[in-house]
Symmetry: C2
Subunit: 470 residues, 2 copies
């Protein structure tokens, strides 16, 4: 007769545990006694050893179980260092504009409009209808729901002057947000190592997408009326670039809007250089004193690649945008999107189309215009009164942001921490520069929560600037 020792039993049980699911019940003491021909005391000793190792736990009156919560171990992923090689693009920390904050702070940093500026009733009704429709269980064609493609084409076509062929629905590719469009455009139309001109300052998401695509970014300075045509022409000539990325209406962060004349000049330069203008019309629904007319509306030669998003104006949950392009460029974008994500949820597309085709959408946009105006004016006035050191060179005619120039030598990191400790979150302008910042700036969002606190926020910012300049 073979009497197993407790350590032998523990060893066998360890093997059994290694193959078992956490929470599995161990054989009863009685059956272990029988199996190992050992005394109950020996079996208990083995179980105690395993309990001490954290492998099992006994629940009195129920049984003994493989432990679900295991003892924490320190992992070593050092081997990955060689396998991954050095990164193709230097790591960047997450943007301040994407930071989620609690309700008790004054948030000037966000890139998104507050909940109360969204068409909540329309969004909920559209999603509920979509949930009952065929869109809830089917797959749309890769380029997008045909009706939504038509809507995007028609939106741009409505500003197209006579003599110019408006875009066709087939020129539209629906995207899961315009960030995906930027990535596809830079990847599929420019490519690694190739030059790309960008306004400076410009949208940090575009800078990020360009870095991910491995393109070589060449900044072109841009003021309240748009980029200097001579600088732009020179940049094309020097770099051999075939693309210029810009936001002609209410640029993020500056709020700049190109004059019609400047738009035509840029179009001419782009055409002369056999190049593309990527027009990121991110704030199409956020006009305040003017109504934006896309430059793309005046192009039917395939020189303008147009991006329009509904995420910010409809709902961050309805992640739907579109790119409008023509010719081989359209084919390249389509191929890239197919490889990247195949298609965009038809439910989100149906809901987006539902929202923007309701008569109440137009009413919402009119009310939004008034709300943005009073918010913008309130923040600008509050800054003038309480934080005059934050110089607003230009009151934007649309968009969501003020762009403030701070006194030379301001330490933005220190200022940010100082403001935050007093309950105000600001975004340093640094992220909006493709190269070195040209000075200390802040981007201040006037579409965030609780405009009633703008004055207080400006006061705190002013005090922090005061302390910072001492």
């Amino acid at each position: 007769m073979n009497h197993d020792s407790s350590s032998n039993i523990a060893k066998r049980l360890q093997e059994w545990i290694a193959g078992a699911t956490p929470g599995s019940r161990l054989p009863s003491t009685r059956s272990l006694v029988a199996e190992h021909r050992a005394s109950p005391v020996t079996v208990q000793k083995a179980l105690q050893a395993l309990t001490a190792q954290g492998l099992i736990e006994s629940r009195p009156g129920v049984g003994t179980f493989v432990r679900a919560v295991r003892t924490a171990r320190l992992s070593d992923y050092g081997w990955q260092t060689a396998a991954l090689r050095s990164p193709q693009t230097p790591p960047r920390s997450a943007s301040a504009a994407m930071r989620s904050t609690t309700n008790d702070v004054i948030a000037f940093h966000s890139g998104y409009p507050d909940w109360e500026l969204l068409p909540e009733r329309l969004v909920r009704a559209a999603l509920a209808r979509a949930a009952r429709s065929g869109a809830a269980l089917s797959r749309p064609p890769a380029p997008g729901l045909p009706e939504l493609q038509s809507w995007f084409a028609h939106e741009l076509g409505a500003s197209t002057p006579a003599g110019i062929t408006p875009p066709a629905p087939g020129d539209v590719v629906v995207l899961p947000g315009s960030q995906s469009g930027l990535s596809s455009i830079f990847r599929a139309l420019v490519g690694p190592g190739q030059p790309l001109l960008m306004e400076s300052p410009t949208y940090w998401g575009a800078i990020l997408a360009a870095a991910q695509a491995g393109v070589r970014v060449i900044p072109v300075p841009s003021g309240p009326d748009g980029p200097d045509p001579e600088e732009l022409a020179r940049a094309f000539e020097e770099s051999g670039a075939r693309m210029f990325y810009a936001q002609p209406n209410y640029a993020n962060p500056t709020g700049a809007q190109w004059t019609a004349r400047r738009g035509e000049q840029v179009q001419d330069i782009v055409r002369t250089n056999g190049a593309f203008l990527v027009e990121d019309d991110w704030a199409h629904d956020f006009g305040i004193n003017t109504t934006p007319v896309p430059i793309a509306a005046r192009d039917d030669s395939g020189h303008v690649v147009y991006l329009r998003s509904l995420t910010k104006s409809v709902s961050p949950a309805i992640r739907v945008a579109a790119v409008i392009a023509r010719g081989p460029a359209l084919e390249r974008i389509l191929a890239d999107r197919a490889a990247e994500s195949m298609y965009v949820s038809g439910l989100l597309q149906a809901a987006a189309l539902d929202v923007v085709t309701q008569p109440a959408w137009q009413t919402h946009l009119r009310s939004l215009r008034h709300q943005l105006q009073s918010r913008r004016d309130l923040l600008a006035a509050s800054l003038r009164e309480y934080a005059p050191q934050a110089h607003i060179g230009h009151i934007p005619k649309g968009g969501l942001n003020l762009w403030a120039r701070l006194p030379d030598g301001t330490d933005l990191e220190l200022l940010g921490r100082d403001c935050e400790s007093a309950g105000v979150i600001v975004a340093a302008g640094t992220e909006w520069f493709p190269a070195e910042p040209t000075g200390p700036f802040l981007r201040l969002n006037f579409a965030g929560p609780n405009p009633g606190a703008f004055r207080e926020g400006a006061r705190i910012l002013g005090q922090a600037l005061e302390r910072n300049s001492r």
Copy 2:
């Protein structure tokens, strides 16, 4: 007094039209007469000339308008050829598996389960609830809704044996579909020009994502039990690859399931080579005779990067998947996702979580298993009876497809057209090979619409094969 000629008036009006929106009303004849100090006849002549040019149209009794529908012009986008340079990856036509077809055909080609295999009631209820919740109007954190991250981590952790640390919620990145995960993994963890081992045959979407990322694909032959360990070891050694992409459970297209022993061998080889195994668990919810246990459950050293999708089993409209990774690899994937799409719609995430945490989800999965079994067996029997030339070497224990070897010399293109003219759509196996196909194959989906027509479909296929071999 200056009397404008009709051609002068026409020229001025042309300039006006160029800046006008289609549908704009032209000034009345009376005011044009006054403005140009011309006779009504002269003004009419100018308007007739513009009408003939297709620039305006008159609606009797209403007025004259800038034409909304313009004369079609042939566009020349030839200039883009130089701007775009040659493509970084050769263009591929859209996959047969993504083709949308009408209801009157017998569809064996699709990669998706039919509507009747989806949890329709659960999906609609979950979407309706999400539409009423905060998720309809807010933005989730970039890596995903924390509760959904936890669910994905727990699903994998449930198969984790004792002694192995299960994944934490923070190891999970939620994706807008697993295709996006493949793109990010190949782009961020391998990179252009670097080698990547892949099973052959394997999922066409992975081959596509690899091509888009510009990686160098090295095929490793894989049979019903998985890849030959010696071939795999040799491929690692010869290529210096640091990643192997595979589908260990119910591989698409073959339906192969690796044995437990083979899984361990592959894990050993991967570990020895300081490499990653990308485990694409696409058919986790489609087990028929077995229940899949992911290899990732047995890894806590960061060697397995695990992909799990809900799109196919929950709904094609709920485009939600997840990647589970650890260490620096996780960081690289997170950074790539942030640059590519920032975040996944919180509404879709909330709805997905709602569906898979309902008790009825488990009931649905059990019923699905039975339905897939009877569909698989029906199609296999129909093929044996009516199309014996289509040899099914291996009845898969899960998944959605049969993989049929056709007689040598079968012209797949001819066969496809022949079947299609008789109302049966098939997918040629060619797309599932990273390199040259090793013979003529068909992938036949048994999860498509109308299983009642499987016999008829097999009969038509058999006849087409008969004609084809003559």
